[in-house]
């Protein structure tokens, strides 16, 4: 299958994934149930949901690490079961571990090699990405001695090594300190600015709210809500009025539904719920 110019970055159609659990009775686990979603080019898509809801499973099927039970996934129009669909993707697995016997620069060199970069490119990318994820001070240390957050950062650098057009991040900020977490958020925003498509899962809803264009809420394998962030968190049957320089007396009047006043109406719209409240509602 060829890269069609207008194909979306990610297309998941009716994906179902059933795991067989090794046990005496033939038990199965339905991890993802008839899930469909599309991530447009240059879009940042957030997948949120409680533990065990099927976020990581969806991503692994997308990357060809697991086989779909039914349904199909494609990346830029190329089927996920084909190796060449992975040419333009960078993946950060959850709780990533890398080869402990390698140093940070050797790690990037290795992943660059298997992506087919030339020696000069690998050297440049390695230097650039280590700077980007703030690991310049630990370039020549073996990963065996890296902390959890440092591993997460090298994982991010590794995902970007061949300048992918799509980045798949499974909980990119897990185990990263608050300032590192903010750096990662900035990095995601910068990638978005470069037109790179991103699909990420996270439990930090505030961050998802900050960086994602669209969000899908997944619960027990079902995609229960999906949409543009503004739409999802607006409350349909209420209106919000923001007043400037309103005196307490005026507020009284407004509260009493006084109309035709000299008060300037700055904005009238839907008040926002937080993504967190929506999340809790949808996954009860």
């Amino acid at each position: 299958m060829n890269d069609t110019p207008d194909a979306p970055a990610v297309e998941i159609e009716h994906l179902t994934k059933v795991f067989r659990v090794p046990s005496l009775r033939k038990q199965t686990v339905l991890a993802v149930n008839d899930l469909s979603l599309t991530v447009g080019r240059g879009e940042v898509y957030g997948l949120i949901g409680p533990n065990g809801s099927g976020k990581s499973t969806t991503m692994k099927v997308l990357l060809g690490l697991l086989h779909a039970t039914t349904g199909k996934c494609s990346i830029f129009g190329r089927d996920s079961s084909q190796v060449d669909s992975r040419k333009d993707v960078g993946f950060l697995p959850e709780n990533p571990y890398f080869y402990k016997h390698l140093t940070a620069s050797e790690t990037l060199d290795f992943y660059g090699r298997i992506c087919g970069l030339t020696k000069a490119e690998r050297r440049d990318q390695s230097a650039r990405l280590l700077k980007l994820v703030d690991l310049e001070h630990a370039t020549d240390r073996r990963l065996a001695g890296y902390s959890k957050g440092m591993l997460q950062r090298i994982g991010l650098a590794q995902a970007l090594v061949q300048n992918p057009r799509l980045v798949v991040l499974d909980e990119p900020t897990a185990g990263v300190d608050p300032s590192g977490s903010r750096q990662i958020r900035d990095l995601i925003l910068a990638l978005k600015e470069q037109g790179i498509s991103i699909i990420l899962s996270s439990h930090l809803l505030e961050q998802v709210q900050e960086v994602c264009d669209r969000v899908g809420i997944i619960y027990k394998g079902d995609l229960v809500r999906e949409g543009k962030l503004e739409d999802l968190i607006s409350i349909e049957d209420q209106t919000e009025i923001i007043l400037k320089n309103a005196s307490p007396a005026l507020l009284e009047k407004v509260r009493a539904l006084a109309a035709g006043d000299s008060t300037e109406v700055i904005s009238i719209g839907r008040p926002r719920t937080t993504l967190e409240r929506l999340f809790l509602e949808e996954t009860q």
Partner: protein
């Protein structure tokens, strides 16, 4: 190289600043389904991994063992002494190559799965059979390099010991001659002297030793491929190791079993097809049994070496193809 840099420089600068980085030569290239450079990267990575696991420390045991044997046993005849030295050394080489092949290989895939490092490789455009091939070749390079080291040490020790023994024997004859000068005229005594020295050289450093070392390497290669195959479907490392050892033992005994089993088996019985199946599933290590002959100073035919090498290639091909089939359908 130069071409790559030129395209890089010529690439449009838009969208190529800050975070997203420079244009890379790979971006325009079509993806190749088979890339020797990718396989080589995986090979060297596996090799480095094993080296940094300090496996080469095992070789110190080998060195200590053969040096000890070489200079300890002085009560035998020179031939016996050299034979013992070669027996012990080749046996130790066989043992180390076997341990590397089985234990080392059995660890590779389960470790990658457990640490989830496998994900980070297979989510790149790397076909699964290339990953397996990289692991296999990495182990073969490791075994080859360690055998090269053992072989060099072994040959040095045998060579030195041989020289010493030849000199001692010649000195003994010379002393005898000094005592009984009339023996210099005795043809049969001179012949006896020559024969004694020839016997030592025959048991000494000869090219056929390299054939034995090569046979050991080939056998270890087959075991590596077998272990890799088992590890693609095994659920535990212990299972992989035990099954591979079982294959190793069956592989050694299968020619005996086959001749016993098939002698007097009726045409059209189940015995023949069963023996055929066993012969395909389990490698026949009888093929590689040249070590004993070499130790006793016999020559090895070139055709035998070619046959051995050819069969090994065939085994590697079959087992790796099977491993690749199992692995490409595996859920990670």
């Amino acid at each position: 190289m130069n071409d790559d840099q030129e395209t890089q420089a010529a690439a449009p600068a838009e969208n190529r600043t800050g975070y997203s980085g420079p244009a890379l030569a790979t971006e325009s290239k079509a993806h190749s389904m088979f890339s020797p450079s990718r396989i080589w990267a995986l090979t060297m990575h596996t090799f480095t991994q094993m080296v940094r696991m300090r496996v080469f420390y095992f070789l110190l045991f080998f060195s200590a063992a053969i040096i000890l044997v070489a200079f300890m046993f002085l009560r035998f005849t020179p031939e016996q002494e050299l034979k013992l030295l070669k027996d012990v050394s080749l046996g130790a080489m066989s043992l180390f190559a076997g341990i590397f092949a089985i234990a080392g290989t059995a660890l590779l895939i389960p470790k990658d799965l457990e640490d989830r490092t496998l994900y980070t490789i297979l989510c790149k455009p790397v076909p699964r059979f290339e990953y397996l091939l990289g692991k296999l070749l990495g182990m073969l390079v490791l075994i080859f390099v360690s055998m090269l080291f053992m072989d060099a040490l072994f040959c040095t020790v045998v060579g030195v010991r041989e020289k010493i023994l030849v000199k001692e024997t010649a000195d003994a004859y010379d002393q005898e001659l000094a005592k009984f000068p009339e023996r210099g005229q005795n043809e049969s005594w001179k012949e006896q002297r020559e024969e004694a020295l020839a016997a030592i050289t025959n048991y000494g450093l000869r090219w056929d030793l390299q054939a034995a070392v090569w046979a050991i390497f080939l056998k270890a290669s087959v075991m590596t491929a077998v272990t890799l195959l088992v590890s693609t479907f095994a659920t535990t490392t212990l299972f992989t190791i035990i099954s591979s050892i079982a294959v190793f033992i069956i592989g050694h005994g299968q020619h005996l079993g086959r001749s016993y089993f098939l002698s007097g088996a009726p045409e059209g019985g189940f015995e023949r097809p069963l023996a055929g199946v066993i012969a395909i599933i389990f490698p026949d290590f009888h093929l590689y049994d040249i070590v004993d002959a070499v130790v006793s100073g016999e020559a090895v035919a070139t055709t035998l070496l070619l046959q051995m090498s050819g069969m090994t290639c065939l085994y590697l091909l079959i087992y790796t193809a099977a491993a690749s089939f199992v692995f490409s359908n595996k859920e990670l």
